[in-house]
Assembly symmetry: C2
Homo-oligomer: 229 residues x 2
């Protein structure tokens, strides 16, 4: 660690390889944090997002990038972890079948454990309650409740070291997220948002995640660097 970094605060940043978390990572860094990126191999069908996560973390110069492996797919209940359930095209009503039961809760729990070991006081997550798919674990009230729980859960909390769950994107539209990311030098060409990309990370252009991403670039008036199949 360089001298320059010594007085910076540590933060754990959840990095999926998608557009949102790449932006959050750049924001956390700009806010003066030493960033510890965390990604998950949970049996998702779109594992090339893990390659994207590696590129994003490397580009942002994180101190460490930790990959957690777990068989969350053995629980089932989602099109993202069960290949028997088809990924729907964009535009359906209600919470879509791409919702993964308790996914953000599981992810944040691991981040909480790592934050405690590192002595980090913040966990950054790229949830968004504007241009999103209606997932319950992206809402502000959920995040607030997780933070309350987290501050009762750990030895660090008992000893007075509180943790914040930081969600800098939560009230931003996708276009605003993209503009902010470009200002901070995020390379969106290296991110993957699609729920069912091919092996080379090229997007389907049909799913909810593809629609939200394409609309974001469109509304921001920025050329979309996404590679389509």
């Amino acid at each position: 660690m360089s001298k320059k970094q010594k007085n910076r605060e540590k933060a754990v940043v959840l990095v999926s390889g998608g557009l949102d978390s790449a932006t959050v990572l750049a924001m956390a860094r700009e806010q003066g944090h030493d960033c510890y990126a965390m990604s998950f191999d949970y049996g998702q069908r779109h594992r090339c997002e893990l390659d994207a996560a590696r590129r994003v973390a490397s580009h942002a110069g994180v101190v460490e990038h930790k990959l957690i492996r777990m068989n969350l797919d053995s629980i089932g209940g989602s099109a993202l972890t069960d290949t028997a359930i088809e990924v729907p095209e964009a535009g359906g009503e209600g919470i879509p079948v791409t919702y993964v039961p308790a996914r953000n809760t599981v992810f944040l729990s691991f981040a909480l454990g790592w934050a405690e070991v590192l002595g980090a006081r913040a966990i950054f997550i790229g949830v968004n309650a504007v241009d999103y798919s209606g997932y319950p674990d992206c809402r502000p009230e959920y995040i607030a409740a997780f933070e309350t729980m987290a501050n009762l859960a750990t030895k660090a909390a008992v000893e007075g070291q509180t943790i914040q769950i930081r969600t800098p994107l939560i009230h931003l539209g996708k276009d605003a997220i993209i503009r902010e990311g470009l200002r901070l030098g995020v390379d969106y060409a290296s991110t993957v948002s699609c729920y069912q990309p091919d092996d080379e990370g090229r997007a389907c252009g049909q799913c909810d995640a593809c629609r939200l991403r394409a609309d974001g670039f469109d509304q921001a008036g920025i050329d979309d660097p996404t590679r389509y199949q």
Copy 2:
């Protein structure tokens, strides 16, 4: 599933292979639940507890026993997941190094996901705030905060299907737990409590978990079936 079981409520029960969770499983069953046992291979040093978990789940006649594998040990920070940190003998002060950062939060998060897929309305966990090691994630206020968070986290909750985190042992002494378990037919000889048992599941007799267990049998006036090294 037999006809008799059709109208019973489903419950996810966290089963570690230890004395407490074996008792909780028997209690959940007696309370009329169809039980779905969940155990975790998280890189713990005492993996023979997983064999104990299998025996306990089988003995209790669970509907299904799911094992979640994950590299929680890659986070470190505990004598139970890092062999470089020695398991202390019983009787130290403060929260001991056997505390695993965010462990119950991670476990309950997976249970929450499975409960949602199953349509279960209850998660049972054998935390105890009387004869315990002072772990923060065993306290009633932590459990209450997790339950609040859980009821904002899932699609099921948004649709009105609330979940309860049930902790029937939380205010019981170890001796009362043992008496209750024996009444319900728990075979404690097949459980493993020790933090560092040998490969055959025989206990060290020195660690905090061994001390709490031995004191419990002693106070209950019951012969201790624990096999020691």
